[in-house]
């Protein structure tokens, strides 16, 4: 690890001390107001479960999903030709976010047989079509980049 306090993995420190003090003075009361609201409305917000979700998504993201993304991007950037990499990287990100949002729709968690107008699309076909369009765009982008390089 880098012991230089000003440089973290080659990056300089970016925190302004004065700005941080002002930010804490303004932001902490807002955070406190939110926490107070969670506790006052405890019968609706279920503070323990809510806290597990908020901390849980941060931990799952930072300790699991982000490392997977970092390693995947790092690995693929060595395999994919350099001219195509920016296009492929954008395609991967778009694929991930489309799949994330599509997941509960595909699973049909929110279906209600008494409301046919709700979640009324064929989300599998829709997602496939969207991903097809995304990767077609990636191919065109990469082809243009290759011509230019």
């Amino acid at each position: 690890m880098n012991a230089d306090p000003l440089h973290v993995h080659g990056q300089p420190a970016t925190t302004s001390r004065r700005g941080l003090v002002i930010g804490l003075a303004m932001g902490v009361p807002i955070i406190a107001y939110g926490i107070r609201g969670v506790l006052i409305d405890a019968s609706d917000t279920h503070p323990g479960e809510l806290a597990r979700w908020v901390v849980g998504v941060a931990v799952v993201h930072d300790a699991l999903l982000a490392p997977i993304a970092l390693v995947t991007a790092w690995g693929l950037s060595r395999v994919v030709p350099a001219f195509a990499w920016p296009a492929v990287r954008a395609g991967l990100l778009t694929t991930v976010v489309l799949c994330l949002v599509a997941w509960p729709l595909l699973r049909g968690y929110g279906q209600d047989p008494s409301i046919p107008s709700l979640l009324s699309r064929d989300y599998g076909t829709g997602l496939a079509a969207a991903l097809g369009a995304v990767w077609l765009t990636v191919a065109v982008w990469a082809a243009i980049a290759r011509q230019r390089s």
Binding site: G10, T14, S16, T45, L50, R89, T94, V101, Y109, Y123
Partner: protein, 378 residues
Amino acid sequence: MPSARQAADVYESPLHETRSAAWLGLGLGATFGLCFFTGLWSHLAQDPPSWFTYPARPAGLYRITQGVHVASGMAAIPLLLAKLWVVHPRLVEWPPVRSVLHAAERLALLPLVGGGLFMLLSGAANVARWYPWSFFFPRAHFWTAWITIGALVVHVGAKAAATRDALHRAPTLPDAVKAAPDDRRAFLGGVAAASGALVVATIGGTVSVLSPVSVLAQRRPGVGPQRVPVNKSAAGARVLDRARDPAYRLVVEGAVRRRLELSVDDLREMPQQSSELPIACVEGWSTSARWRGVQVRRLMVMAGAAESAEATVESLQPSGRYRQSQLNAGQIADADTLLALELNDERLHIDHGYPVRLIGPNRPGVLQTKWVSRLIVR
């Protein structure tokens, strides 16, 4: 062959740099800001504090604010994932804590990152009507928004100077790692494209021209009974029998000079008003429709209610958080605030609130109370 050290350095990309973080930070500030203020607006509509009078006009405002709320939340998903990827090296910086201030800054990152991810995840799940938790989504989403925005204020304070500097043509702060401008442009352009794709894929529930390509939209405008989507069915609300009961009467009571009890036929014989009004859901779908029925203000006059009177609109629904809604004096006075009997030139479908439903301008869909049984005037 890369050396062992290189092989292990997953942070080698020069995109883990201040300038990319600054641009993504600006995008997140804009999208989270939009989400926060449009979310507050919806809260004011649904739960107005005593010092605030929610306006009846413009009629389409709520549909726009909630369309923006959901679209900017969707747009923020790729921005947040990309931002966290860019700054991930700082998560493992060493030493982890250098001073009390530094500890406070890092501690505030937990509500910022956890809160930000939770806001987007819970919002997207709500749009998909998926509730993998036991808390009441609107309350949890609302209060966590304050916590997240508070943490964002701390973060913006800490990083404003560096962000401003990094966005200058020639940054003055030392920038040991720096991406090539073309690299950065391609990266940020790709993130923006992902945001755009996600918005287009989901916004069709409210922007009907995009509906054919909105393959992940929860709704299709024009699909539903009488070409209008439904959020709660009569069966789901357990009102089927009561709504069809011939003994049904609309009651107007409370602070009135004459208590009214009106049958559906009585209501039909009254002067009818036709209004083109959107029904707009907080989940980001909306549809404009033609409603026809009796003006609420006409009923209030008939009952001899005061001009400054307000009213609670109550449904036949035996239970549920949304079985009643409030009308303030301004909403009652509006010519387009109706107890509707018809939708798109047909007798109201039971899933749209037959025999009578409330419809008014600039109101959240959940407050357009269906199967109305009583107006309680105060």
